[in-house]
Symmetry: C3
Subunit: 272 residues, 3 copies
């Protein structure tokens, strides 16, 4: 049974602190998304304080956009401390494969932080998994991406421990090796919003902060974001607005969606 | 008598330059808020130029969100230069008490920059003042915060010089030791906007740039922001928008509010 | 003949990758503007990867807001690599003249990266060109700016190679030394939006990525942004919104404008 509505209720009741080490481009959006989902964002980045800060958090985000050596160092420190304390790290390997440096740092973070959930688009996950046929242009995946599930499986083999892999796309695919979920909520305007991938990661963190079945949390989070996108698109219909207003409506929808509506409208298929 | 409308008029006439060393999460919002209030924002951060930049400014903001050692160094350099030149520093000790590093750097900045105004929520100010019973979750204050005025008084003792202390909350409290103001303008949606605290600091800086009675400037600034929140909430009523559109309306309201309307609708009580 | 509509069509067909080294204040806006114009933004900043990243791009932006030594270093590395590979660099010398450090770094980038297009307001360009009578307050030019064309000519002499100079203002002026364009599209609300100058630079980069006549690309880009501002202002008329909603409408307009409408409404005068 899909327990997404219960997870959402619990986020809003507990208001968990979510520590982010994310990129500078979409930082403000991630904070807004976290707050509007019902949690508390914090984005301390100095190596002098990330360990102490993450201990106070219930989940942590690592996102490798605008990576620098000092931020990568903070990410590894924070990730190791979170792992040690049993705090789930949600990892978004933005730009994996776009440069040697980026890919190398991403693999190092994967190994040292042992994230509970790795979330990416098909190209990023495919590339990390060594699946052929993926093409990456900057931080945007373009063209053939191979089979999502195959890529997820290979990445799990690379990791060598039981992470949840979430691959976003027209249909999102989530797997923990045993179970596989497909999320059909969403809208074609969502990938047009810069940072919608980063937002997805923040929401997975909000949900993972209160639900230790991270497969269930990630599945519910992507369904929740997809449903918000559907609501935003509906509100946009018949107006002469575009993607910038869609983003405003999307963040508002995260705040306005009730657990009851979520329970009714989630389009999720789980196997295994 | 409350001279807020005159201060606002003067900001718009003089368009003072406001130098910011603020956090990366809400930087864009702070710039927009400063511009829409009527002043000019600038956000140079390199230690190589902060002293030269602040000398051209009429007020400066220091905000400790996303602090790093190199930014803390720039903050101290800028703060000392501003102090030397008689340029008011408005200090927002974001996240005070959340980590040892943060609290330590905040105390160092307080000592070296001698800010004209210290603005925080009750938990941040309480913690800096050593008042018991405050709890901080990340950068968000949660739960009991002690008595605002008591905390303000103790912080003033710690500082050992005559700063204005401004504590935001459902009712904002401002004191310079002799006089105390309470600001009743505001709306419950305001604290739901990520960065509304940072925005308050930027507006205090805009007002302090043209009014050397910083107690009057800080009081007027918080009333101005609160009134903008009331206007935004009114515009939101009956629509199906949420906090993201509220933020758009809030920033617009700062631009649209006239000194005449501000004079009429400010809800401020001053004693002493 | 004005070929702006064809350039826009080509941007949307090719979706070129645009690498940015821009400031932290308006980074999110620049990414949104790039995406809504039809290109793909990427904003990698580490010296370890900027060269590899720019090689995958079709144009690059360098913007000196929030400059630091390490970012200036990345800018020079990226700029030299782009120059070597024939990838056009669009340079926005934000804050030129505001501090000794900033001006010095800007001149160094100008020399080492040899940008294809230098874009600034009249004060910034005038100051770099050594024209008297310019005044800069922070990153905002205030007051007399001298003659735009004279300033452009002098800057070209300083550069010693054939860059395109674009000077934004109520009427934008673009010159390559031989030809001069004046762009009459625009709206008085545009300069009220923090970051509208940065947005202009991103759009020039989008257009220069697909059109190697950078004079034509820069002219078309400023006309395109000006036209979007006109559309946004029209949508705003009769509402009780202000500059924050104008920004939403502006970014939406970039997405919604068709090449056909652009061909019809561009107000550009080219001589030479």
């Amino acid at each position: 049974m899909f327990q997404g509505a219960d997870i959402l209720r619990q986020v809003r009741r507990e208001r968990p602190l979510i520590h982010h080490l994310t990129n500078y481009v979409t930082m403000n959006d991630c904070a807004a998304v976290t707050a509007n989902t019902g949690a508390l964002p914090v984005m301390a980045e100095a190596e002098e304080e990330v360990e102490e800060m993450v201990v106070a958090a219930k989940a942590a985000v690592i996102n490798t956009g605008t990576l620098t050596p000092s931020r990568a160092h903070s990410m590894r420190l924070m990730g190791k401390k979170a792992r040690e304390m049993g705090i789930p790290v949600i990892f978004d390997p933005v730009g994996a494969g776009s440069t040697t440096y980026r890919t190398q740092e991403i693999k190092r973070i994967l190994t040292e932080a042992a994230p509970a959930v790795v979330k990416g688009n098909a190209a990023e996950i495919g590339l990390l998994a060594g699946v052929k046929g993926t093409v990456i242009s900057g931080v945007q995946s373009v063209g053939a991406a191979g089979n999502s599930l195959e890529a997820a499986g290979r990445l799990k083999d690379f990791l060598g421990y039981n992470a949840v892999i979430a691959i976003t796309g027209p249909v999102d695919v989530i797997t923990d090796g045993r179970r596989t979920a497909r999320v059909f909520n969403g809208h074609s305007l969502l990938p047009r919003v810069v940072g919608s991938g980063c937002m997805a990661t923040s929401i997975i963190a909000c949900f993972s902060a209160v639900e230790e079945d991270y497969f269930a949390a990630a599945t519910a989070a992507l369904s929740f974001l997809g449903l918000a996108a559907e609501r935003a698109a509906e509100a946009l219909k018949g107006t002469s607005f575009g993607p910038a207003m869609f983003k405003v409506l999307l963040i508002d929808a995260l705040f306005l969606l009730t657990p009851e509506f979520f329970a009714k409208e989630a389009k999720v298929e789980i196997r295994g």
